[in-house]
């Protein structure tokens, strides 16, 4: 039966190929969207690990998460060095990473921090940052680059670097009196770490303290009631990442920080904030998936149209088969086999195109959009989608099959031309 369906399809190869192509492309789209969705979610969830709390000035949790982890947007408020000192002394705090944001290198964010960042920051399943070349910054004028920054800007160890005030690509206040030197380059992580420049907090303090006259006012102000044992390298921070001795402490500590009296602070648990943010993004992704599903439906409807249209010109073929003893059910299953053949070939072609595209264009995608898509085997979700396409095709094929069944009974052996 399949052989006959195949031969008959080959006879109508122009429309068959177009149908297959439509199904292949719609399958490609659906799987592509699903893959982007899945891997984005995985990459997303992998951006930060091991950090129990992120603390910043009073702001929205999404904003704090976006700026501290993804370096997207800017924080209007900062938290004071005093508050940071308070945080570090809270009981149960195992480690803490201060972060001051706001400068950039050719559009890439500069994160001023301490070497603790490289010791304690974790991503993925608890992976720590590794250096591809050179060393972590140790001098005030040294910078450690994310892999993407180094690759895009063509920077090597020892190259000079000029920081710009503000996060834009073009700034009118370049800190060019204080060139930095690249001390090392990090391994690629597939997280926003790749797209950032890391410098010493003191480096930033030096930079701003000497260059920016606005900050000198702060100097006086801060010096006035500075009760730290020694002068802080900077007076304000954007965010602090905190690791705790025991994770269950996080909830209580979050409350404690959120109600801190001396300065309004916001503490978020990155896992929860990520989930919350993802839920917002997921809506968009689901819309994309829905559109892809509709495209698949269009492809399948195209097949339905083609099959229905072909029935008219194939009445002769059906009459011959009836004369050879084919029952109406044989005709019915012939039509179903044809539809399934078209769909299976279409879907396989789509999967093949996906893998071909990912193998050939995966690197291109990574360098141009930073999106990491692998030609990994089909996930169970993707199998479910493929099965759904086949099931939908099977159900749709019942329509032309039923028509052919009815025709076979009505026409008998007479050939109506």
């Amino acid at each position: 039966m399949l052989k006959l369906a195949w031969a008959s399809l080959r006879n109508r190869r122009a429309s068959a190929i177009l149908t297959i192509l439509a199904i292949a492309i719609s399958t490609l789209l659906l799987l592509g969207v699903e893959r982007v969705r899945e891997q984005t979610q995985a990459n997303f969830a992998n951006t930060i690990a091991g950090t129990d709390l992120i603390v910043g000035a009073r702001t929205g949790s999404t904003q704090l998460l976006l700026s501290s982890v993804f370096h997207i947007g800017s924080l209007n408020n900062t938290l004071s060095w005093d508050s940071y000192q308070y945080l570090t002394k809270l009981p149960g705090v195992k480690w803490h990473i201060p972060m001051a944001l706001g400068d950039s290198v050719a559009g890439y964010p500069v994160v001023a921090t301490t070497s603790d960042f490289f010791s304690y920051f974790r991503y993925g399943d608890g992976l720590s940052l590794e250096l591809a070349k050179g060393t972590v910054f140790s001098e005030m004028n040294q910078a450690t680059l994310g892999a993407e920054v180094a690759a895009r800007l063509g920077l090597q160890q020892g190259d000079p670097l000029t920081l710009a005030h503000g996060s834009g690509g073009i700034s009118f206040s370049d800190h060019d009196q204080h060139p930095f030197v690249v001390s090392g380059i990090l391994n690629r992580t597939g997280t926003p770490v790749d797209q950032a420049v890391y410098i010493h907090l003191e480096g930033l303090g030096l930079l701003h303290g000497e260059f920016d006259s606005e900050h000198s006012a702060d100097h006086d102000h801060d010096d006035h009631h500075d009760h730290a044992s020694h002068a802080p390298p900077v007076y304000t921070l954007s965010a602090v990442l905190i690791g705790l001795e025991a994770r269950p402490l996080a909830l209580r500590m979050q409350r404690q920080i959120n109600t801190y009296k001396n300065e309004p602070l916001t503490a978020i648990m990155p896992g929860m904030a990520l989930t919350e943010l993802w839920r917002t993004l997921a809506l968009f992704e689901q819309a994309l998936l829905a559109i892809a599903a509709l495209v698949v439906a269009t492809g399948l409807l195209g097949m339905l149209t083609t099959l229905l249209a072909s029935l008219r010109e194939r009445r002769r073929e059906m009459a011959v088969l009836r004369a050879l003893g084919a029952g109406p059910f044989s005709i019915f299953s012939l039509l179903v086999s044809e539809a399934m053949l078209l769909t299976v070939i279409g879907v396989s072609t789509g999967v093949l195109l996906l893998f071909l595209g990912l193998m050939l264009g995966g690197d291109l995608l990574l360098t141009h959009t930073g999106m990491l898509l692998r030609a990994s085997p089909l996930t169970s979700n993707e199998w479910v989608l493929l099965a759904a396409i086949l099931a939908a095709a099977l159900i749709l094929s019942l329509i032309p099959a039923w028509r052919a069944f009815r025709n076979a009974l009505a026409d008998g052996l007479t050939i109506k031309l």
Binding site: A7, R316, L321, R322, L324, G325, A326, L413
Partner: protein, 232 residues
Amino acid sequence: MGTCIAVKHLEFRWPGAPSPLLTIPSLTIARGERVLLRGASGSGKSTLLSLIAGVHQAPAGQLEVLGHDLGRLSQHRRDQLRANEIGYIFQQFNLLPFLNAEENVTLASQFAPARRKRVQNPEQHAQSLLKQLGLAAADTQRLASQLSVGQQQRVAAARALFGAPSLIIADEPTSALDAEHRDEFIQVLFKACAANQTTLLFVTHDQGLAPMFERTIELSDINHARKDDGDA
């Protein structure tokens, strides 16, 4: 010899039709007979053939083919009987244009397990039938759509004969052929039927063919439906 087709008081009308199209008191065709059934167009020939072929169902007890009362067989059983025991040749367009001649012949066993069983080597059998019907060996691998009408009808005849069915129904198979090809076609068909002991029911509106057959039946003689209409 036995009976191939036996009609007893057959009365058939299409659903919704005011009067019967066929009223045949009696008709018997023995096994191995070669019969010409003649009738004008619209006289109910095609309907009678579709009843005999089991595509449409005759009322119970009125039509027997190869010992089966077709009125009591299910659609599926009638389809099986046709697949296994009846070869059918149309006036034209018998073949699937996208298969070659040989594939069109072996297609006969696609729905017919009994025919498949009777044939040891399908390709060889098809080749020998095609040769018997006068198709050049080179043409057996050509697509049906590339064959002439005369060649196509020979392939159709070979397919009807494939796996030695008991009955061949030929519905005006020569109407698309010129006189010379027509006679030649009938001769080879006769020879093949004789070799296989096959009953041949040959339907035509062409009066000129009668002399070639051992028995001619005029449908107007045996079908009383029209006359009854006229009398009423």
